[in-house]
């Protein structure tokens, strides 16, 4: 295991407070905790940090006072704060170490809060307002959090007014908590049994993936409908944002809104069908879905004899000026080639060429033909949501004849 990131973080905390610390000592302590004592690495990091803080006399220095009273949008990493706001969402605790988690909001913004079980703090109720004294702001996975610990004083206060949040255009969302007014423009197949629904939300500025996990009495969104969504968690994964709606207050709206399709259209001749098209096998491990090699090898989960069959076509569409890479998924592959998954499996099983035979038959159906497609463009590749062969249009002929004969 590599401790260098953790060591760097811990030493940074010490150095930023004006002390010097030997990194190899930090690493040794971490290593001992994790490897000899089986302490989870996050906990080991905390232990070592606290130990060093005590050693340098930092703890008392930081813990003095309850911190200034601040509004949520002024919070900074590592500070102690006193703040007033409303609990606008509660979500189920992901771990027994956490007593309660949810979203705390004031008129300036909203932040996720976590109450440690060890804090023995009174649980807060949704839609009530509280004053929190001596809570700690810290950063977890790049997003600020409010930590309620044993030293935090929680007092219920009278209702605050005007904390209805403003909508943020989807394109301007940042990791943390966000509110949007958006339309459900796509519903995707669940990739995980704990997932109730996932899909795409859009407004005028852009689109974003949304996820609702199965949890309590959450409900699905209706594709095509518009919702006001307050206090959703904006997560970031591999540079892409998504909205987790489990914490959100979702209110259906009667109106319709303009939505960028986020899709490109492209027409041209299908000039190349790439290897990896046709009948493919996918890794059956939940949430993996990677394409297996011929020997059923998944790059992550190794040999998977109980693979799942799927169809796809990868290739290039070319309009004579530009060539664009396409990824066509099962439903559209079936439509284009007239071969469905069941038939493809049958072909593969009853043919000496096996899966190659499916590739060849599909290639003969699609290659060299004119296609139009629409889809989202991801990393220069169009993920096709809709496509069809172009029909010959004789009306074009008359126009072209006029153009060509114009000089005569």
């Amino acid at each position: 295991m590599d401790y260098s990131d953790t060591v760097e973080r811990v030493s940074q905390k010490i150095v930023s407070r004006g002390h010097t610390v030997d990194k190899s000592r930090i690493e040794q302590k971490l290593k001992q905790l994790v490897e000899e004592f089986g302490v989870p690495s996050a906990e080991a990091e905390r232990t070592v940090t606290n130990e060093l803080f005590r050693e340098f006399g930092i703890t008392t220095e930081v813990a003095t006072g309850a911190g200034d009273q601040k509004e949520i949008n002024q919070f900074q990493n590592g500070e102690w704060v006193t703040t007033e706001g409303k609990v606008v969402a509660l979500s189920s605790a992901p771990s027994p170490a956490i007593a309660q988690t949810g979203i705390f909001a004031d008129k300036s913004g909203a932040i996720r809060f976590v109450t440690w079980s060890k804090a023995n703090a009174p649980l807060m109720e949704k839609n009530r307002c509280y004053r929190l004294e001596s809570a700690v702001v810290d950063e977890f996975r790049g997003v600020l959090n409010l930590k309620i610990h044993s030293g935090t004083v929680i007092k219920e206060i009278e209702s605050l007014e005007n904390i209805q949040p403003d909508y943020t255009p989807i394109d301007d969302l940042n990791p943390g908590v966000g509110s949007v007014k958006a339309k459900v423009i796509q519903e995707w197949d669940s990739t995980h049994e704990r997932m109730l629904q996932s899909g795409l939300l859009g407004d005028e500025s852009g689109t974003i993936k949304f996820v609702i996990w199965r949890d309590g009495d959450v409900e699905k969104l209706t594709p095509g409908s518009v919702y006001s969504i307050y206090y959703a968690l904006v997560d970031e994964y591999q540079g892409r944002l998504s909205l987790n709606l489990n914490t959100a207050t979702v209110i259906p709206e009667d109106e319709d809104i303009e939505v960028t399709s986020g899709e490109t259209s492209f027409s041209g001749a299908f000039v190349h069908m790439a290897p990896g098209s046709g009948l493919i096998k996918r890794c059956p491990v939940e949430g993996c879905n990677r394409v297996l090699s011929r020997q059923n090898y998944c790059p992550v989960h190794e040999i998977q004899p109980k693979f799942v069959y799927d169809l796809r076509i990868k290739g290039w569409l070319d309009d004579g000026r530009n060539a664009r890479e396409l990824l066509i998924q099962r439903e559209n592959v079936e439509k284009l080639t007239g071969i469905n998954l069941e038939q493809a499996q049958e072909i593969a099983e009853n043919n000496p060429l096996g899966m190659d035979e499916v590739f060849l038959r599909m290639r003969d159906q699609v290659l060299g033909k004119y296609l139009s497609c629409r889809g989202r463009e991801i990393e220069h590749r169009i993920l096709v949501s809709e496509c069809a062969f172009d029909a010959y249009d004789p009306a074009v002929l008359a126009d072209l004849l006029n153009r060509a004969g114009g000089d005569e």
Binding site: A269, H272, D318, G320, N322, G368, H380, R381, Y392, L400
Partner: protein
């Protein structure tokens, strides 16, 4: 060490594929000039179409009228693909195994779609032979052929309309000195053969 680098360095921009130009056989037959943009061995080579555009790859749909297998050790196919203006000479050799196998299964006459790279040979007596090194060849229907004729007519007219306004177009005007009206007429005649 340095030569290894491009392979291991993360690719920031996805690979740009050379588009397949739409060109009639009669125009391709007049093509004489070929060039490379850079001296680098891997940089793409182009032919300069007389209507004024560089071309690394073509897409053509026509009728496969004749197919011949040649060579013993180095087996390859030679085929003639006919469009409304003339004939494409298409070759598929052992460096294009996929195209060769496709070619082996097609019986003339049939409508075929060809994707390939144009190459120019100059014979010792100064004649030029232009052939298309085939990347793929598939059987298509008449609809696809008709579609291609319109597509190619439009692309050719678009190139002619640029008339010296791009560097490639200016160069073609200077090098070929062909009257653009000839190609306009070629397009008109190709279109006139189509049933309205």
């Amino acid at each position: 060490m340095n030569e290894q680098q491009p392979k291991t360095a993360p690719q920031k921009y996805s690979f740009e594929r050379e588009p397949a130009k739409r060109v009639f056989a009669a125009e391709l037959r007049e093509t004489r000039i070929h060039f490379k943009d850079a001296d680098d061995e891997k940089s793409p080579s182009y032919v300069l179409l007389p209507t004024g555009e560089r071309c690394n790859r073509i897409f053509a749909v026509g009728t496969l009228t004749e197919k011949r297998k040649q060579g013993d050790q180095n087996l390859f196919y030679r085929a003639r693909v006919v469009d409304p203006t003339g004939t494409f000479f298409v070759m598929a050799g052992s460096y294009q195994p996929e195209a060769m196998q496709q070619m082996a299964r097609i019986e003339p006459p049939s409508f075929v779609a060809v994707v390939g790279k144009p190459t120019i040979y100059e014979t010792p007596d100064g004649a030029f032979l232009i052939s298309v090194r085939c990347e793929s060849i598939t059987v298509v229907d008449k609809d696809a052929r008709d579609h291609w004729v319109l597509d190619t007519a439009k692309a050719t007219l678009d190139r002619l309309d640029l008339d010296g306004q791009t560097p490639d177009s200016a160069r073609a005007r200077a090098e070929y000195q062909t009257d653009p009206a000839i190609f306009r007429r070629m397009v008109y005649e190709a279109l006139a053969q189509m049933k309205i």
